[in-house]
């Protein structure tokens, strides 16, 4: 190989800045705990504490609307009954809505009308509202830990 054909100086390769990893901001233990607690009590409140206003509004509106629809459709709010597994599961799904469930239950709403045409639909609306609220609390927990923006 002819050495004269090689350039005398080789241009150094430009230094490439490494891509910075996403900054994880931990909200703090107290804020994380309060976001989860208040999120369980009031749908969307956890996101409001974390200042995610758009999500808080959507979650609050959607879950409250589902719960209200359920009551409107003659659903039954299941009591804290631990006699069999299905009663427990129904109660957990209902109570996932937090204060919505407890306030209505204490006021005697949601007695249910099993003969009504929409009884099953109403129950599904209320179960789903509670389960979605649990999912929303997990989302708030992830945001508070900095796992999600």
């Amino acid at each position: 190989m002819d050495m004269e054909s090689l350039p005398e100086q080789v241009e150094p390769i430009a230094q490439v800045e490494p891509i910075a990893p996403a900054i994880r901001v931990h909200a703090g233990i107290l804020k994380t705990f309060s976001a989860c607690l208040f999120g369980l009590l009031i749908p969307g409140m956890g996101h409001a504490i974390l200042r995610k206003w758009d999500r808080a509004l959507v979650f609050m509106g959607s879950i409250t609307a589902m719960f209200a629809f359920g009551l409107f459709l003659n659903a039954r709010l299941f009591n804290p009954d631990f006699s069999d597994i299905f009663s427990i599961l129904k109660f957990i799904a209902d109570a996932g809505s937090g204060l919505l469930y407890w306030l209505c239950w204490l006021r005697g709403l949601g007695t249910g009308a099993p003969a009504a045409y929409t009884y099953d639909f109403g129950n599904v609306f209320i179960y789903t509202a509670g389960l979605l609220n649990m999912l929303v609390v997990v989302d708030a927990f992830d945001i508070a830990l900095g796992r999600k923006p």
């Binding site: 999500r55 959607s62 629809f69 979605l132 999912l135």
Partner: protein, 57 residues
């Protein structure tokens, strides 16, 4: 409000909205994801309804 299809559409819309806001960050992506889940809910419900049609229970 005795229309099962209308109730199913309302249910699908509310659940899809929550899922879209949980799963996506960008507004455009949320819109696309919402439509995708909503269509899946409605179309698959109708499809499963027709598949169950021959069964007597």
């Amino acid at each position: 409000m005795n229309d099962h299809f209308l109730l199913m559409v309302i249910f699908s819309a509310l659940v899809s909205l929550v899922f879209a806001f949980i799963a996506k960050i960008d507004a455009r992506q949320r819109g696309k994801y919402f439509l995708y889940i909503f269509c899946c809910f409605v179309l698959l419900s109708v499809l499963v309804g027709w598949l169950m049609y021959p069964f007597p229970f």
